[in-house]
Symmetry: D2
Subunit: 181 residues, 4 copies
């Protein structure tokens, strides 16, 4: 049944430039690392602290292309999407899980001037691929859209933790274009 709501809304800044990949079909997939900050009062010290949460955001098709074109490290963005947890196997064969936000809407915020061209008016929203699949699929070919496990990182890739503890452990970056994503 269509009973269910799964919605995420983020406003944050990119910790790095977008990563854009292309499937053999030409479909784009972009991943963003988005930081959301919040402040909380430490009752012990009575001081304000900042907590940063990092989010892995993925987007497809036209939205992916626009993100790759207009966003940069430091850009402030509004993201709307849904939560999705997918299973993958690390190099030791262990099943691991990564939770991502699959974006269906994006807005570039602030950042007036600073050299970046403006996003085109038709770029802000993805036809929601969940409920009513758009004419041009938002998911790349080779992506088994019916399940949670569109299999990236591919087998044989180095372990790619969902949230790397340090910069030395980068997000998945060695995808094979022939085995898309």
């Amino acid at each position: 049944m269509s009973k269910g709501v799964n919605k995420v809304i983020l406003i944050g800044h990119l910790g790095a430039d977008p990563e854009v990949r292309y499937a053999a079909t030409g479909n784009a997939m972009t991943t963003l690392n988005v930081a959301t900050n919040e402040n909380w009062l430490d009752k012990q010290t009575n001081q304000w602290q900042t907590r940063t949460e990092w989010h892995r955001v993925v987007m497809f098709a036209r939205l992916a292309e626009v993100a790759g074109q207009y966003l940069r490290k430091g850009s402030q963005v509004y993201i709307e999407g849904r939560l999705q947890t997918r299973k993958w196997q690390d190099q030791s064969g262990t099943e691991r899980y990564t939770t991502e936000i699959v974006a269906n809407e994006m807005q570039m915020l602030g950042g007036r001037g600073e050299g970046a061209p403006n996003m085109p008016p038709d770029a802000a929203q993805q036809g929601n691929q969940s409920y009513a699949a758009p004419a041009v699929s938002a998911a790349p070919a080779g992506y088994s859209s019916g399940g949670n496990n569109y299999n990236y990182p591919p087998s044989g890739a180095p372990a790619a933790p969902a949230r790397p503890a340090t910069a030395s452990s980068p997000p998945p970056s060695d995808f094979d274009d022939d085995i898309p994503f």
Copy 2:
């Protein structure tokens, strides 16, 4: 500073009864497994399919107690909260990440009559522990509220996958009450 929005909204059904734990201080923490369903049209077969996404929801203090008291497997709920990814170590010492929704609001939906008493009027919302910490902390003692890594499951526990592949692999359930959560 306080620039940032990190918001999740879910409507779904519980896949199991809530799990309630108590810290040594008496503070409650409840975890829910919430399924959100959506339908998508398989273009190949031209048939409607259902995709289920499972979400791990955690809540503290009064909200946790109310959830434990009024929700049951199958209950339909509205959840509002924020995304949080925490790091933990599995039994092999490998760092793993689990993404959860930390709820600050909950509404029990539908289910009129059916034996379950109604939730009390003051139960619906948690003082948001992120921005303005409530007088009675929403986070249990023993929970290092300043970071992302409030450390459960504890070291030494069996691996608890973020999203079990089957029912045979339950969510973390063998926490030690003396080392809360």
Copy 3:
């Protein structure tokens, strides 16, 4: 440009059966009256009070038809949409304003069994008529989609308050099908 977010999320109950109208083109428009309740603590008396807010929700095309078919007075619904204020003239020629939620998603909640058939899987979401207009327009013919003032109630109709004080003052109901909505 496409900088802007205008989003409303409601969960409430219908105060009356949906009102469905059809444009000359056959396009449907449905209006719902949705009550959202919240509780607040009266500090004077230290007692919990209930506050009810009424919302006028409008929807078009397929979503409008589904709402008319499956919702009834008392139904619990999830609504997602955008705010829109339109101008109209009452019988004295005075300009008046009505704020509505233009729905693009709807979920029927709870109400298991009770005689009502389930909503079809493709009914939950409207192609968002704002950003990327759907193939079948979500707006009825005769509706000047570019502005805020699609002119109902029509001139000459009795005054129709945005939010009637009592049930004796119903929402606009005497629309002329030839001058749609």
Copy 4:
């Protein structure tokens, strides 16, 4: 019952400087006029058009003070709140309705540098006055918080339309501090 969700999320720009008022008790109330823009494709001309929607946002207490201090005409803001329609009487004694967003969270977006000092970390969120009233009430004294009709504009004031057609018909601005708001 606590069954109900009434949530609005806006990102837009201020059409004018905030209007700040103070009750006799010293409590602040600020109103914002926020424009949200969206683009839609005119099928007739195959051209992109912009539609602007104006929103009346009200906020109280600390949030009201911060808005008055840091926001200006043109500022980009994120607003989260609830819809509220209140009844008032125009000078002819006719009942009129105005729908507002009562904000409980606000974020200033973009606008780096440009002379404006930053918002303090504790300013972003209002204790939600609906569900669990904060220690310092978010509603000004003199405001009958139990109903929808906190009576401004006061009787005897010139008519103040919810959404003035032109700038010559300003938002309510002649409140009497002794009859707060």
